[in-house]
């Protein structure tokens, strides 16, 4: 029975360190990512004010069928190339 008591004590010990880890861990994770939110907001507004970028125009529409044809050909080519 002394052993059971001891085991119970160890379990309590483990579980309380589990709860502590949970609180501390989630605390650090939230603190860290919240600070990242703050810093990103700061960075973005600084950059948009002082180094505004002209938004990149979407890449000129490559004909998707051409791309499909070419990528098939490239694939074929690679396959061939990889064998010899």
């Amino acid at each position: 029975m002394g052993a059971t008591l001891f085991l119970g004590y160890v379990m309590n010990e483990l579980l309380s360190s589990g709860i502590e880890l949970m609180l501390v861990g989630m605390g650090i994770v939230f603190t860290f990512l919240s600070m990242l939110v703050v810093f990103i907001n700061g960075m973005s507004s600084l950059i948009q004010r002082f180094f505004p970028e002209t938004p990149i125009v979407a890449q000129q529409g490559d004909d998707p069928r051409m791309i499909a044809a070419i990528s098939a050909a490239v694939h074929q080519y690679r396959k061939k190339y990889s064998k010899n």
Partner: protein, 375 residues
């Protein structure tokens, strides 16, 4: 006659042990899941094959001098998972997250899956036949991060004896994300909430994408240096991709290098699927805890998103909270799909990519916490 006896005694048939046969069967199960069920095949195929090779008797491929023995040293040194993380960084676009930074909080909330599981693993010690030390509990908990290389990195540091089971659980549940998450997401949200449409994201410029990984590495260095190897290599890959001046390097990091390392990493993880480590009650515990970890992570992400939606000026669809577990880009796709069931014109994919990549950061941070607090 004598020679034939010697020959017979050199066969695998003569030397096979039951546990080895079972582990080979586990290897074939993993191959089946990888090839037929498309469960993260890039990792589970080499892992499964590694399990088969390492359980062949006599061949001794995991003994000193065997190829799997040498390969495993790349995990023991932490080099393989970190190189994979660098490659993942080179494939990651932080644009959607930078356009809507508060989604980082969703990535934070979903890490509750990790810490709840840590507690759960410790509590499991009451079950007879299960025994997890604090280190082992932490290594198991990281499955909840839904991030393969992070799980392997942490497990190799804290509990290498569980590496095989943890890696298999992590990748399997990542593959099961489309099955595990939707019921939880539906249970925790109303039809109205699932219909919420979000504002289109602004375009994020190149400079912001360059500065972000640098900012992240500095913050990690200042606050949580134990996460610096993971976060640092990830940021290196991301910076190489974002800056545009070293495309040669970022392409190699995201293609050939990550492919080579994936083969080696998978084989050596598989080589840790040995019978005496895997065929134990504890493995069942790990599998159960892993599923719980994913469920809790999903739930806490969704709940956090509901809370934020209440206080936010712009609407937030709670479904994107589920993407906070990482499992890029599967979890984001799931959020999109569940959203479209309620509102077919609702495109949540890009909105969910924010918490999704935030989840990668979140689990790396959680890994740092575990590595720094548990010795």
């Amino acid at each position: 006659m004598e020679n034939i006896r010697l020959l017979w005694e050199s066969t695998g048939l003569y030397n096979f042990t039951g546990p080895q046969a079972i582990m080979m069967a586990v290897g074939f199960l993993l191959l089946f899941l990888a090839i037929k069920k498309d469960f993260e095949p890039l990792l589970l195929l080499p892992i499964g094959f590694g399990a088969i090779l390492s359980n062949i008797p006599v061949a001794g491929m995991i003994d000193e001098g065997g190829i799997l023995y040498y390969m495993y040293s790349g995990i023991k040194a932490g080099v393989f998972p970190l190189l994979i993380f660098m490659g993942v960084g080179a494939m990651t676009d932080f644009g959607p997250m930078l356009a809507n930074p508060k989604t980082l909080l969703l990535g934070a909330a979903a890490q509750f899956g990790i810490f709840a599981t840590l507690f759960g693993a410790l509590a499991m010690n009451v079950v007879p036949g299960m025994e997890f030390s604090l280190k082992q509990a932490a290594a198991i908990a990281i499955i909840g991060g839904a991030d393969g290389p992070t799980a392997i990195y942490v497990a190799s540091k804290l509990a290498p004896e569980l590496l095989g089971a943890i890696a298999v659980a992590a990748y399997s549940y990542m593959a099961l994300v489309p099955l595990i998450q939707p019921p939880i997401m539906r249970a925790l949200t109303t039809e109205e909430e699932r219909k919420i449409e979000m504002q289109q994201l602004r375009v994020v410029g190149k400079t912001e994408k360059i500065i972000f990984p640098l900012m992240l590495v500095v913050l990690t260095a200042l606050l949580l240096p134990s996460a610096a190897p993971l976060v640092g290599m990830f940021c290196l890959g991301n910076l190489m991709n974002a800056c545009g001046v070293v495309d040669r390097l970022s392409k190699t990091a995201a293609n050939e290098l990550i492919n080579i390392v994936t083969i080696f990493l998978g084989l050596s993880v598989g080589s840790k699927l040995s019978a005496d480590a895997f065929l134990k009650m504890e493995t069942l515990g790990i599998l159960a805890l892993g599923a719980v970890a994913f469920a809790i992570g999903t739930a806490s992400g969704v709940i956090m998103a509901k809370v934020m939606n209440r206080f936010s000026s712009t609407p937030i669809n709670p479904l994107i909270g589920a993407a906070g577990v990482s499992a890029v880009p599967m979890a984001a796709r799931v959020a999109n799909k569940v959203g479209q069931e309620s509102n077919p014109y609702n495109f949540l994919l890009m909105h969910a990519m924010g918490p999704n990549v935030a989840g990668v950061i979140g689990s790396a941070v959680a890994a740092g916490v575990l590595l720094s607090l548990i010795h």
